[in-house]
């Protein structure tokens, strides 16, 4: 994607409402044809970012650049950007056909062309023959398709999607994810997608932008943000992770849990304090005494494909996902390959996440960072 030109460039965007900073110095470049996902907990400013790009909201400072041109003052109706709203926002007084034709009529297109375009759109979203239906007679999934067709009919350069699948059930959601991705690839237009579902973000996007508290934490490919998270927040928000307090003794040598290990990271200062992320699925369970560390199993949960084991190693509770079975009370060894330890610089999030000591089945949801956030406030 990076070889296509930049279509939208957000430069130092800041916004505050009633004295509270909602977006703090957002810088983001989006390339033509890219599928970018804004990912972050509720209230982190994702919708606000979209509204600035759409032109519904003016930033307090900073610039919005569209294809090299500053569009700060350009009203929404003049921007080549269309939004697919979370709750669809279809016009209840118009039928499906007229909803999709809405933007085309404003462009003063010929009736024949409008008809052809609407038909093509209905086909694209699998709603052939629904043209004369009333909006309230459609299911949620069908309404969502109409909303997609309505936005795409006007040939936007950039489509903004604000949690478009949020109101759908899991099955439909999965189907629509695939469908949206297909549509995006087929038409080759830029999608800026908002979600707080990390799985959705990882599976659909070219680029994931992780946000928290109105600031961008990490911009990268899905593999990047998963494997090389920028800080403890990103590591914890995307997937499960054990985050340990460590010290980088020298290049390729990190110390945590009182031991020194070989790793693949370099470029830190000598004896610099760091956070070390280890994904639960990257840890191997070995017989006691044979691993790098060892501890007592405090909980085992069967998850279908794997077991989720919590192991207490010197009062730090690790989460391990493994196909090997263990029982509570067992002493087991754990082993981690050097390239599966990811060393990160310390950040404001250090120490907040990544220890499973309060973990239990009921707490599963509480380990969601959004909840941790709220508890702190």
């Amino acid at each position: 994607m990076k070889n296509t030109p930049v279509i939208i460039d957000l430069q130092n965007i800041s916004v505050s409402f009633d004295g509270t900073t909602i977006l703090n110095n957002i810088n983001l470049q989006i390339h033509d044809g890219e599928f970018v996902t804004l990912l972050g907990p509720s209230g982190c400013g994702k919708t606000t970012t979209l509204r600035i790009i759409a032109g519904f909201l003016q930033q307090d400072s900073g610039d919005v650049i569209f294809e090299g041109k500053n569009i700060n003052g350009v009203p929404a109706y003049k921007r080549q950007v269309n939004t697919i709203f979370q709750r669809y926002a279809l016009f209840p007084h118009l039928n499906v056909y007229e909803n999709i034709a809405f933007g085309l009529r404003l462009k003063k297109m010929k009736e024949d062309d409008i008809k052809a375009k609407v038909q093509a759109m209905l086909e694209l979203v699998n709603l052939k023959g629904f043209g004369s239906r009333n909006i309230d007679s459609l299911s949620g999934g069908q309404q969502q398709r109409v909303a997609i067709a309505r936005a795409l009919a006007v040939d936007p350069r950039v489509v903004l999607l604000d949690e478009p699948l949020g109101a759908l059930d899991l099955k439909l959601r999965k189907d629509m994810q695939v469908e949206l991705k297909n549509i995006q690839q087929k038409l080759g237009i830029t999608f800026i997608y908002v979600t707080h579902d990390q799985e959705e973000a990882l599976s659909m996007s070219d680029t994931v932008v992780v946000m928290n508290n109105g600031e961008i934490q990490h911009i990268g490919t899905p593999i990047d943000v998963y494997n090389e998270p920028a800080n403890a927040f990103v590591a914890d928000f995307i997937g499960e992770s054990n985050i340990l307090d460590g010290v980088m003794r020298e290049d390729f040598h990190v110390e945590f849990s009182g031991m020194r290990f070989q790793c693949v990271d370099k470029g830190f200062g000598k004896d610099e304090p760091v956070d070390v992320v280890i994904r639960p699925e990257d840890i191997d369970v070995v017989p006691a005494g044979q691993g790098m560390l060892q501890g007592e199993v405090t909980s085992v949960t069967f998850k279908g494909v794997h077991y989720e084991i919590i192991v207490d190693v010197d009062n730090f509770k690790w989460m391990i996902q493994t196909t090997q079975k263990a029982s509570v009370g067992d002493i087991i060894g754990i082993s981690i390959k050097p390239d599966e330890m990811h060393v990160m610089k310390k950040s404001e999030y250090s120490g907040l996440y990544g220890d499973y000591s309060s973990f239990s089945e009921e707490f599963d949801e509480l380990s969601d960072p959004t909840v941790v956030e709220e508890e702190e406030e």
């Binding site: 759409a54 929404a76 109706y77 939004t83 926002a89 209840p92 809405f102 404003l106 309505r150």
Partner: protein, 277 residues
């Protein structure tokens, strides 16, 4: 639901009684008087006389229509802008709109005499700069003014309610698809506010057509509408039968109007859900 039907009946009883006493009984009385003569014998004389009042009916409808139209033209933009102001300001403004409604209708109307009269507020002010006195009172214009003034809140409130409830994202969606400010109003706000317009029209038109107090106080006998004729039959001519027959026709006309307007209101239940008043 089925099992509670006895309880339901008991609960409903007072309302049914109320309706019978105050809605159905008067209707039957009106019907009775309309179809009898002064001796109480069956007669179609009164009904036949109605034809003589065709002109009055048309005049009443014209006055009602003009007053309703003016109310709509004033209320619509007012409601639109009000619905887009800060919540506090909206609450206060709605209070102010309703405030006159808590005062007696008679006093509100009467007060216009002291404003428009020959020695009223306006004419005495104009007199000081050597103009007038202008004939502001006792004409059709004053009657229309009285109608608009008295019933305007009933136009504003349903319009305001529907606009305040309108989903802003629909407006944003329209802008997003290329609508400028005026086009948003024409293509989205207006069509979605039709049920509110229908309610407003009903609530202004009906009392305008049947009023007699406004015409008497502000029209000074120059404007004779159907309400005046009916009132005269009961109060001075003592011809209850003709009065009842005219009322009946007025009622039927209003019912037809309501039926037509209801068609618009019903067409979109959701939007109309909570129209005030």
């Amino acid at each position: 639901m089925k099992r509670s039907s006895l309880a339901q009946k008991i609960i409903n009883a007072p309302y049914i009684l109320w309706a019978a006493l105050f809605v159905i009984a008067p209707l039957i009385m009106v019907l009775y008087y309309a179809l009898t003569d002064s001796t109480g014998a069956f007669s179609l004389d009164s009904v036949k006389q109605i034809g003589d009042y065709g002109g009055t009916f048309i005049l009443s409808i014209s006055y009602g229509a003009v007053a309703t139209l003016i109310s709509l033209v004033i209320a619509y933009p007012f409601a639109y802008f009000l619905a887009h102001t800060k919540a506090n300001f909206q609450r206060m403004s709605v209070m102010l709109v309703m405030l006159p409604m808590w005062m007696s209708f008679l006093i509100r109307t009467y007060s216009w005499i002291t404003i428009l009269g020959e020695s009223g507020v306006i004419n005495s002010a104009l007199g000081k700069i050597g103009i007038g006195p202008l004939p502001l009172l006792n004409n059709g214009g004053a009657v229309i003014l009285g109608m608009v003034y008295n019933f305007l809140p009933y136009m504003i409130l349903p319009l305001y309610t529907i606009m305040a409830k309108m989903d802003v994202r629909l407006i944003e969606a329209a802008q997003d698809l290329g609508c400028g400010k005026l086009q948003v109003i024409r293509k989205v706000v207006f069509p979605l506010s039709v049920p509110g317009i229908a309610s407003g029209i009903t609530m202004v038109f009906v009392p305008c057509v049947s009023t007699f107090y406004i015409t008497q106080k502000l029209g000074g006998g120059q404007v004779n509408l159907i309400g005046d004729v009916i009132e005269a039959q009961f109060q001075t001519a003592n011809n209850y039968n003709l009065g009842a027959a005219l009322s009946l026709v007025l009622m039927v006309m209003i019912l037809i109007c309501l039926g037509v307007l209801n068609y618009f209101t019903d067409s979109d239940d959701e939007v109309n859900g909570g129209v005030l008043v």
